[in-house]
């Protein structure tokens, strides 16, 4: 093994070791409230999905794929679902602007 290779591999190993071991040097990290986080993310994802659906339904209506009656019923239902999700997000203490 030539000198350049030895120095290069040692330098790479040191750099990788330093980067990877960084988080372990600070001791035990505060544990995530995993259940809270995942509930929050789920609600946010569901909220965004409802928003997307509302926009899609409006586009479907405007491009003639949905009748007005169907559109209004779907829009009402989706908005109610979105509101319910916002209530749950607030209850979780995630919101506030």
């Amino acid at each position: 093994m030539d000198v350049i290779a030895v120095v290069g591999v040692l330098a790479a190993a040191s750099a990788a070791g330093y980067v990877v071991a960084g988080p372990l040097r600070g001791g035990r990290a505060e544990a995530d409230d995993a259940a809270y986080q995942s509930q929050l993310e789920d609600l946010e994802a569901a909220k965004e999905a409802r928003y997307r659906e509302i926009r899609e339904a409006e586009m479907d209506f405007r491009t003639g794929k949905l009748s007005e009656v169907d559109y209004k019923a779907i829009d009402r239902q989706l908005r109610a679902e979105a509101m319910e999700l916002l209530r749950k997000l607030d209850a979780l203490g995630a919101s506030g602007d």
Partner: protein, 728 residues
Amino acid sequence: MADLGRGLTFLAFAVAVYGVVAALYGGIAGRREWVTSARRAVYALAGLTTAAFVVLELAFLRNDFSFSVVQSHSSITTPFFYKAAAAWSSQEGSLLLWLWLLSMWSSLVIFLTRNRMRDVQPYAIATLMGFATFFGGLLVFAVSPFDTLPVTPVDGTGLNPLLRHPSMMIHPPMLYSGYTLWAVPFAFAVGALVVRRVDAEWISATRRFALGAWLFLGVGILLGARWSYAELGWGGYWAWDPVENASLLPWLTGTAFLHSIMVQEKRGMLKTWNASLILATGTLAILGTFLVRSGILDSIHAFGASTLGVPFVVLIGLMVAGSVALVVSRRDVLRSEHKLDSLLSREAIFLGNNIVLVGMAFVVFWGTFFPLISEALTGNKQSLGPPWYDKYVVPLALALVLLSGVGPVIAWRRATPKNARRNFVWPLVAGVVTAIALIPFGVAGRPFALIMFAFAAFAIGTIVQEFSRGVRARKAMTGEPAPLAFLTLIRRNRRRYGGYTIHLGMAVLFIGVAASSAFQHVHTVELKKGQVTNLGRGYTARYDGPTSRIDVTADGVERLVFGAKLTVFKHDKKLTVLRPERGYYPIEGAPFAGAVGRYFDGESTSEIAMKAGLGLDIWSAVTPDLDPTLAIVKKGDAVFRNASGKMDQKAYSAALGTTIRTLTDNYAKSAPPATFRLIVSPMVTWIWLGALVVFLGGLICIWPTADLAHRRATAGYAARVARELGRA
């Protein structure tokens, strides 16, 4: 330098193993610092594999023939452009490319999702690093690109001439990007299943990676098709070759996945199906990688027999068993939140499209592995050819094009028959008029092609109608002029209109496939100088005579080129001149080859000539009759064998150069007959244009939008919903 490469590869392997262990320990024990450390291991892996890849590239560019892989895949005369690409023309180099791309994509997704899905991340990281461990292990213990030769040769054997084509520079990185990107949604699906979080969050976190995988794999497949058409000398773009099929399989199931995840995101349905689809797609991506390098199936694209089969089979077995176990054990949380409201709904059409795509994937899978199945059952290895594939794939492709037209005009949840009728009128008219208009041109004799043209016209009709109605709606809402309304419409609804653009491109592409396969005229003929042959469709070609030349680089003769000049006429009016050629590459590192013969004994490639147009391509390849020349070559070998040692090197080289020059000049002067493969193929250009439109649509879909995930709000829910919707 080889030692440095070996050391870096070993470090990459060690970091990957550490990443798996740290991520799993952090996930199971709830120790966040270990998960963070595992995440950093992914970044470190990317750094190490990048450095290793740079070492390999430098070896190729510096003609370092002490590297075994450089000696066997490059040479001094290999053009610089192809030296850079030669790294992935080898088994070992391509494995390193695979690992490097995997580490880069893994780093990107882990960075982008660092604050999301913290419970899923440890298992996703462990899965990604598991793949890295596997490929790193192969590079360390099985096939290292950093192996060296005991004695450094003066020159290498050169890059396979067939691979000296611009698309081959980017075809493998595109395919491998596709394969490695599929590992991302696969890994997150595994993580989501492990922690039982199978809502749409893992889909939304990795959707762009799935789209990227689909896009890269698609570009890779198309570049391969283009290479086949322009380089292989048989005139086709798809041969149902096992390796071609292997790349198509994950693309088909991935296409199904990209449609069905929309149903899960919107309706909370098809969770089991989506999880199964992405697990299957990830597994098929590994299967594709395996097929290229296992040697179990014969293919022009494969690396040939190797010892990598067993480790890959073990990995694929683990992936299949693990996927089945995960899906079965999580079936309680994978239940759908809603039921299908109506068969006349977009989700029902998506389901139909998924069945067709998975059906196609099954046909391709069966056809690809039939030689192995038949050998296991009967002892005889039997292959299934294009007619078998066409029998099943053509009807499925027709259904797919029809559904791609129906889907965009059907609403989610439920569409009323009245609205559906209204939406179908003009596209149906477009389809029927197209079919009727084509009958007088003899298209009725090819019913599948006629149906494809009609269905494609219908699909294009629905998409044009959708764009036009969308623009009208936007104009009515905002008063924007039409061009601005068109652009804003796409910008604000990228997924929808990007998807429609993809459908448009696919319809155009399928028109090209149907026309070029149903109405192609293939003609193989031997012509003497001055002879004319009929190509069909009113075209004729005259063999004006042979051509020859010597291509040289700064380092010597790259190849001898023997070709032909063909004048093509349409109804006796000169249309174009074609100059197909065949290049003969000197054989390197073969002491048995004669001094003159070595210029003829190496690989040879066909350099096709064609006139391509929107209407049709006139394609030509030539096989020159070199028998008279080769008789002289033999005599030349004998003369130079006797002269060896009796002449000084300079005089010997000058005499050899003069001999080669005289041989090539004499070929052109003697005007021997030549065998031509001549093809008149309609609308092939539509395939490439359609593909460009597809990729444009993919880019529209993949383009980032503002992050809406973490909006904050308080009260006044109805107003907030309206406000937030208005902002989006």
